[in-house]
């Protein structure tokens, strides 16, 4: 999908302020806590993935930052403006939210849906903007179809086009590739990349961890409280020790003597027979030394491999820890 070309809209506000920030933000519905103690800062043009299990408070966080809900406590800035009721209209002018459900007027055509929202955002040269949004999601040839006649994936694309109409500074995307086929999903990814290059800040709520890993500069994991936020590789290092896995034909007689003298190796354990997991400071630096030590010890080496933990491993580890600790 082609990115739209205009510069993100809106003016005024504090340009030095982060595009999006929250400070101990909390939302409760009566005694039920939707999310609590959420603190983060997101820079302009950053793509941040927002992950968490169902019911973790992701959608409520987005709705709160999008001025649909009033926070119970804490503060936030959105598109350079403080999140207050007085700033609600101006914030909504500068941001866009693509909800999980497209929420289109099914009796109206694609064009009529977009024209309505272009007028609600008071975009100048509305028909040009609508055309560009349609082209960006490859739906120009379906402009006159009623939305009710479109497939789920196409409706999702119309919702995405609608979210692009006002050239938002901050774009909240809730499961943007849900229901899309792999080609269409890749097109949405390309579109997000294009928006990132134009300086649009994107807050991407998703359950697809591969999508988050591929697209996001940083990811935040929410499970009622914000469990962590950082670059995917940082999170991997935080959660998992860096390891080398050594497999040999037979057990090594004195592993302590072989491994612990090697620079960069902090410890080792036997994972299974003749398989050793070495905790290292840097796998790339430690691997040559380990290889030499194994050769010196006359060990018959089958393989030496650096461990690889995906974002999914990080996510599952954190959520499992929460479950074991009895956190919501």
């Amino acid at each position: 999908m082609g990115a739209m070309n205009a510069v993100p809209g809106g003016s005024g506000g504090d340009s030095s302020a982060p595009a999006l920030s929250a400070d101990r933000l909390c939302k409760r519905f009566g005694s039920r806590v939707a999310f609590d103690d959420v603190t983060f800062e997101i820079g302009h043009g950053e793509v941040v993935g927002f992950l968490g299990p169902n019911g973790a408070g992701k959608t409520t966080t987005v709705r709160t930052l999008g001025t649909l809900l009033v926070p119970t406590s804490g503060s936030a800035t959105v598109a350079g403006l403080a999140l207050t009721p007085d700033n609600g209209v101006e914030i909504r002018r500068r941001i866009s939210i693509m909800p999980e459900s497209p929420g289109l007027y099914l009796r109206l055509s694609v064009l009529e849906n977009l024209e309505c929202f272009a007028n609600l955002y008071e975009v100048p040269a509305a028909s040009d903007r609508v055309d560009r949004a349609l082209r960006a999601v490859h739906l120009a040839d379906r402009a006159h179809d009623t939305c009710g006649s479109l497939s789920k994936g196409l409706r999702q694309r119309v919702a995405l086009a609608r979210a692009l109409l006002n050239d938002p500074q901050v774009l909240f995307l809730d499961e943007p590739t849900s229901g899309l086929d792999p080609v269409a999903a890749r097109e949405v990814h390309d579109l997000i990349d294009g928006l990132r290059h134009r300086g649009v800040t994107i807050f991407l709520t998703t359950h697809r961890l591969d999508e988050a890993e591929r697209l996001c500069d940083r990811v935040a994991i929410l499970n009622t409280t914000l469990r962590t936020i950082g670059r995917p590789d940082q999170l991997r290092d935080q959660i998992f020790a860096r390891t080398l896995t050594v497999r040999t034909v037979g057990p090594i007689p004195e592993p302590d003597r072989v491994f612990l003298g090697v620079p960069g190796v902090a410890g080792w354990r036997e994972d299974s027979t003749a398989t050793y997991v070495l905790t290292v400071t840097d796998p790339a630096l430690a691997a040559p030394g380990v290889t030499r030590a194994l050769v010196t010890a006359d060990a018959d080496v089958l393989s030496i491999s650096a461990s690889h933990h995906s974002l999914e491993d990080v996510y599952l580890e954190l959520i499992d820890n929460d479950a074991q600790a009895g956190r919501p």
């Binding site: 519905f29 649909l68 909504r92 866009s96 289109l104 008071e122």
Partner: protein
């Protein structure tokens, strides 16, 4: 508070397009005027010239004011809860439109076709009376004061009925419940116009001026009340 006309117009245009393509709503708007017109027409056609004298002291045609009181309630009751059921309310609330503008747009979109239907049916009714009833009956029924009352009270009653229905629509969780309650809520207005039509309430100039002023005020208050009870949070999350 200043109203952004472009935003209000965007809502009006969208609503009117949706109404045109929602045959159930169109049917709902059409059925009430038909019910209101047929029976009185049959009665009027059956009247002989000798029966026209008592009609001069009544305001039978004010009975038709029941149309603007009833017709818009059905459509206006759908306005907010219908959007909520369709899942279209959240995208709408994400835009910069204020709730006052959103509700004004929705009210105007209901007001325009409702008043057009009410005047259209009234005009048709008058034409039928003029051409097919006994001339003395027609002369007794069609009086300038009643025509003026119809012109004045049709929009005022429609507006009042719309605001009541919108208030109900913002609080209801189900379209059918909202429509039933809105219809019920418009019945006092219908009862009042019927009592005036039957001369149970004296329809003097003073009564008309006071009623018009009261309805004008109620319309203004209705907009404020509807805006006040329009709670984004409850509408989005269903809580509170």
């Amino acid at each position: 508070m200043s109203v952004n006309r472009r935003l209000v117009r965007a809502i009006v245009d969208k609503e009117l397009r949706e109404f045109r393509r929602n045959r159930y709503l169109v049917f709902g708007m059409a059925i009430i005027p038909v019910v209101f017109s047929i029976q009185p027409l049959i009665t009027v056609f059956a009247l002989s010239s000798s029966e026209s004298a008592p009609l001069r002291h009544e305001h039978v045609l004010l009975y038709m004011l029941g149309i603007p009181a009833l017709v818009p309630s059905l459509v206006a009751a759908y306005s907010v809860v219908g959007e909520r059921e369709q899942g279209t309310l959240e995208p709408l609330l994400i835009t910069p439109i204020r709730r006052e503008e959103l509700l004004l747009g929705k009210a105007l979109a209901t007001f325009v076709p409702s008043v057009a239907v009410a005047f259209g049916v009234y005009g048709l009714f008058l034409a039928c009376v003029e051409f097919f009833a006994q001339p003395s009956v027609a002369a007794a029924l069609i009086r300038p004061s009643d025509l003026l009352a119809q012109l004045l009270f049709t929009p005022l009653l429609a507006g009042w009925s719309i605001w009541i229905a919108i208030v109900i629509s913002t609080r209801a969780n189900d379209v059918r419940v909202a429509q039933q309650l809105a219809t019920l809520a418009s019945l006092p207005s219908v009862a009042l116009t019927t009592l005036i039509a039957l001369n149970a309430i004296d329809a003097s100039l003073t009564t008309a001026v006071v009623a018009a002023a009261a309805l004008l005020l109620l319309n203004r208050i209705g907009w404020r009340v509807a805006s006040a009870v329009f709670d984004r949070e409850r509408l989005i999350t269903g809580t509170k």
